[in-house]
Every structure is written in structure tokens, then in C-alpha cells.
Symmetry: C2
Subunit: 130 residues, 2 copies
């Protein structure tokens, strides 16, 4: 049942089964850097990945290609520590505020969003870190 704090903000027990997952049981999760505000990447979680992320503090996605849990940075060292997990109005998308070590992208760029459309061209706006 909803409670309210002194400022009138609602508060309830978090229940991951109340989120809206797609047919494959997945929900998109957007990772945003806690300090720069940069959007780093988007990946997918299932109910268990959300639980693991909340319990461990290490952001854990579900890899659709490998069909397995994917603890971000486990092999690369480019870890994401959970700072805050937010839910959207339709309960079908997550925003994850993270502390990102090193590049978030497997191409060694800080963010996965590294090309931009300018006029009719697509141009690279971030280069791999050295």
C-alpha cells in the first residue's frame, strides 16, 4: 500500500514483478554517468538481473546474444557501480545512474552513442580511449 512522506511523495515496497517486461521477459535499462550526466549505453535486464544489481551494487544485464547474465566490466574491468535505479511512468524502462570505470563501450569509447547525424551525414563524435 502507498505511504507518503512529509513532503507528500509516495513510497511503497519495490516489487520487480510489477514492471512491464517484453515477450522475452526483458526491460531496457539506460545507464547514465552519475557525474557527467552522459548517457553511456542501453542494455537489457530481466527480473533476476534487477535483483542481482540491487543486491550486489554491480550493474548486471542480461546478454541477449549470449543468453546469460552479464556483470558489466567483469572481464574488461570497466565496471558500473549502481548509484540509483529509477523506473518510468509506464514501468517498462529503467534509468540506472552509475559510477563508470573507464569506457562503457566495447569499442573503448566512453559512451556507446558515438556517431551523430549532421545534415545527411553520420559522423563520429567520440574516439576510442587510448
Amino acid at each position: 500500500m502507498d505511504r507518503h512522506d512529509a513532503k507528500g511523495f509516495s513510497q511503497m515496497r519495490f516489487d520487480p514483478t510489477t514492471l512491464n517486461y517484453n515477450a522475452a521477459g526483458l526491460i531496457p535499462a539506460i545507464a547514465q554517468d552519475e557525474s557527467s550526466g552522459e548517457v553511456l549505453m542501453m542494455a537489457w535486464m530481466n527480473q533476476e538481473a534487477i535483483r542481482k544489481t540491487l543486491q550486489s551494487g554491480s550493474v548486471t544485464y542480461w546478454s541477449r546474444s549470449r543468453q546469460t547474465f552479464w556483470i558489466k566490466g567483469e572481464s574488461s574491468g570497466h565496471t558500473q557501480t549502481l548509484i540509483d535505479l529509477r523506473v518510468d511512468c509506464d514501468r517498462d524502462c529503467l534509468l540506472i545512474i552509475v559510477r563508470q570505470i573507464g569506457p562503457a563501450c566495447h569499442t573503448n569509447r566512453r559512451s556507446c552513442f558515438y556517431t551523430a547525424i549532421r545534415e545527411t551525414d553520420e559522423i563520429e563524435i567520440l574516439q576510442p580511449q587510448t
Copy 2:
């Protein structure tokens, strides 16, 4: 064919058919506020919505519930003007930098991501604008 500018950044003609859409022909698009960096919402686009967005400068999604184009703010006046459109490494997600007029969320909140998980609770962190 790829070209490179003076700084070595690659540059090619943008072709929306080279993006990876899901089985329904859709790609997730994350809207981020150009000035605050706030992540405002996530919605879906198809190839034609991307073209319309680029041509008009008015961010246009595909409404999955209404199965129609959805020019953001057309009825509410809470428009999104396109500032930059970015593509991720897997070419299966877009990041749209926007100038947002008023609240982005249909609940009248600035952002759709308005609850956060704290300990075992889900708490409201943004209230509707008045």
C-alpha cells in the same frame, strides 16, 4: 564509403536502413534534455519516424498503443525540438538530444523516470509540475 575529417573522425552518408530494428520494425529512442542533461523519456521510432524527425526537427515517435506517428507535444504543447540524433555501437538504440518545452511526461512531470528504488522501497522523486 567512409571518409575521414582532419581529426581522423569517420564520416559517411546516413542511411536509416542500416539501423537494427526489432521484429516490429522499431528502435528505442532515449530523449535527453540539451541543457540539464536529464534523461526525459524513452519511446520508439520506426524508419519513417526517424526520417520525419530529421526532416521536421520535431521529434516524432511511433506510438505502439495507437499504432500511429506521435509528434511529441502536438496535442499537449510540450514539444521536443531535435538538437542532435546519435546512434549506438550496435546500431540498435538512438539517443536524441532535445529542447523540451514543459514536462516530458504525460503525468506532467519533467521526466518519465520519477520513482527510484531506495533500500527495499520505491519512492517518488519528482512531482507533477503545477
